[in-house]
Symmetry: C2
Subunit: 263 residues, 2 copies
DNA sequence: GAGTGGTCTAGACCACACC
DNA sequence: GTGTGGTCTAGACCACTCT
C-alpha cells in the first residue's frame, strides 16, 4: 500500500447498496489483523514461536507501525498472541505452564482465582471410535454418522476425583489417536492436541446445568447415585470459528466451585 | 502538566527501593484513567450522562488527546464508559434496556447468547432486616452483626419460575429500602439501586455449584424437593472494588442453562 | 457545518531483555 | 549497545450525529 497523496492508503468505503446490511467500512488494522490470523492459521508461525517485529510487519503490509500495533493489541487481547516487552510477540500456546489449564474454571473453595494452584492429575478411562449422533454432529458441524473419537477421563484434584469428562473429536481431524498417546502425554489435552496435531483451541462456549449423578458418573466420581453434579457442556473452536472439540463434563461441587468473573 | 523540554511530561520512574515490589513505572494513561474513575466515583458525571470530549479532558489533564483516548478505551473495555461515535462518551448504566440484565447468564436452551431475549418477570417474596452472619459479613466486608437487608425474589421466564434469589445488602448503604419500592420499580434490581441510591455495580465474581432443592426452593421454583439446581453465589462490586451486594441464586436448569464464553 | 469519536501516520523517547 | 515492545505526542483526515 503506497502512500499516494492521501494518508489513508486503502480501505475505501465503496458504499455498495447490496440487499442487506453493508459492512460499510473496514479499518485497516482489522484487515491487518485478518492477514495475521491467516498466517497463523496457515502455520507460518507456530505456537510458542515469535512473530516478526512490529516494524517488519509494518513494512510487509505497507502500513505504519502504529497500525500493526493496534492489530496485534487486539489479537493479544484475545490470547491469540502474547507480547513480551523487550523480547517480541509470540504465538500463544496451551503448552506453557501458565496457560495449561486456561479453560479450566473449577477451583477449590477458598482458593483465589489467580493462584498458582496445583494442577489436576488425569486418569483416562477409555477411547472409542463411534459414529456421530445428532447432538455431536450438530456441535462439531459434522454430518450425522461421520466417525468421531470419544474419550472418557477423570480429573483428580488433591487425590479426589472431581471431574468426569466425555470428549468428542472428529476422527478426520485427529487420525491415529490412541489412548496410549494420551496417557504418555503430560499436561492438558489441549497442550497435547496442539503439539501433536497442530490443533490450536482459540476460544470455547460453555453451557452449564445441574444434574443428578448417574451410575457411570457416581462410580468414577466416587459419590452416591443422584448426587447433584455440575454438567458443563463445551464446544471449543480453532481459527475461523471452526468447532473442533465437544465435551460434556460432570463435576463434583463439594469443596469445589466453577468460578466466573462478570464484567 | 506543562511540556518542558521533554515530550514526557510526568510519570517519572523514581526508582525508590522500598521494602517490597516497587510499582516501578505507571503510564500516564493509567493515571488519567484513575482520575476519570475518581470523578466517576465522586458523581461528577452521572450514569447515562456524557463526559467531556476527549479534547476537553486532554486540556484539563494537560496531556494529548491520544493519551486520554487510551484511558477512555480501557474504561470502555470494562463497560464503565460507553463510546458512541459522533455523539460522545457516556457513563455506562444498568438502566439502558440493552444492559438491564448485563450480569444475567441464564438462557433458554437453543437461544443464541446475543439474542434480544425476552426479559424475566420479577416476583418479590420478602424483605427482612437482619444481623450479618459470618458468611455475609465476609462477603460484604462488614463486621459480623452489622445490619443487613435480605431480599428474596423469584425470576420468572416465559411463565416458569427459574431463579430464586436471596440478596443481601448492607443496611447502611441503602437506608429506607422497602419491598414496596422494589415492587414499584421496573427492570433489574441493579437499575433500581443505581437510580435510587446511585450505587453502580461495576463487576461481579461468581462461584457455581450443583445442589439439591430444599423445601423453600422447591416450593418457589415449583420442582420436587431434591431436584438438582444450580447454586450461583455472587458478590457485586462498585468503584474501588467495594463489595456492595452478596446474593445466592438457585436456578432450575431444565430448559435453561448458565452460559459462558471462555477466551 | 460543527462537533465528537475513529483511524492512520510519523517520530521521539522509555523500559526491558539479551548480548 | 542493539533490538523489541510500550508510551506519548501532534496533526491529518474519515465517519457519524445533530442542527
Amino acid at each position: 500500500m503506497s502512500k499516494s497523496a492521501s494518508t489513508q492508503p486503502s480501505a475505501k468505503p465503496s458504499s455498495q447498496s447490496s440487499g442487506v446490511a453493508a459492512p460499510a467500512f473496514r479499518p485497516l488494522y482489522e484487515q491487518i489483523k485478518s492477514l495475521i490470523m491467516q498466517s497463523l492459521a496457515a502455520g507460518e508461525w507456530k505456537p510458542g514461536e515469535a512473530i516478526p517485529s512490529e516494524f517488519e510487519l509494518a513494512t510487509r503490509y505497507g502500513v505504519s507501525q502504529g497500525t500493526v500495533r493496534k492489530a496485534v493489541d487486539a489479537l493479544a487481547g484475545e490470547f491469540i498472541l502474547v507480547r513480551r516487552q523487550g523480547k517480541g510477540t509470540f504465538v500463544a500456546t496451551h503448552t506453557a505452564p501458565a496457560h495449561q489449564y486456561r479453560f479450566l474454571r473449577m477451583r477449590a473453595d477458598g482458593e483465589p482465582a489467580d493462584s498458582a494452584r496445583h494442577h489436576p492429575v488425569t486418569t483416562f478411562i477409555g477411547l472409542t471410535r463411534e459414529r456421530a449422533d445428532a447432538l455431536a454432529a450438530a456441535k462439531l458441524r459434522l454430518r450425522q454418522g461421520q466417525s468421531v473419537i470419544k474419550i472418557s477421563r477423570v480429573l483428580v484434584f488433591a487425590g479426589r476425583p472431581i471431574i468426569l469428562d466425555e470428549i468428542t473429536l472428529a476422527q478426520a481431524s485427529f487420525p491415529g489417536l490412541t489412548i496410549e498417546m494420551l496417557e504418555a502425554s503430560q499436561g492438558s489435552i489441549y497442550s497435547f492436541l496442539e503439539t501433536t496435531y497442530g490443533a490450536r483451541m482459540i476460544r470455547a462456549d460453555e453451557a452449564i446445568k445441574a444434574v443428578a449423578a448417574d451410575r457411570f458418573a457416581a462410580k468414577h466420581l466416587e459419590v452416591p447415585v443422584g448426587t447433584p453434579l455440575l454438567s458443563v457442556d463445551r464446544v471449543a473452536y480453532t481459527y475461523g470459528d471452526k468447532p473442533v472439540e465437544w465435551r460434556r463434563g460432570r463435576c463434583v461441587t463439594d469443596g469445589y466451585s466453577y468460578i466466573n468473573e462478570l464484567a
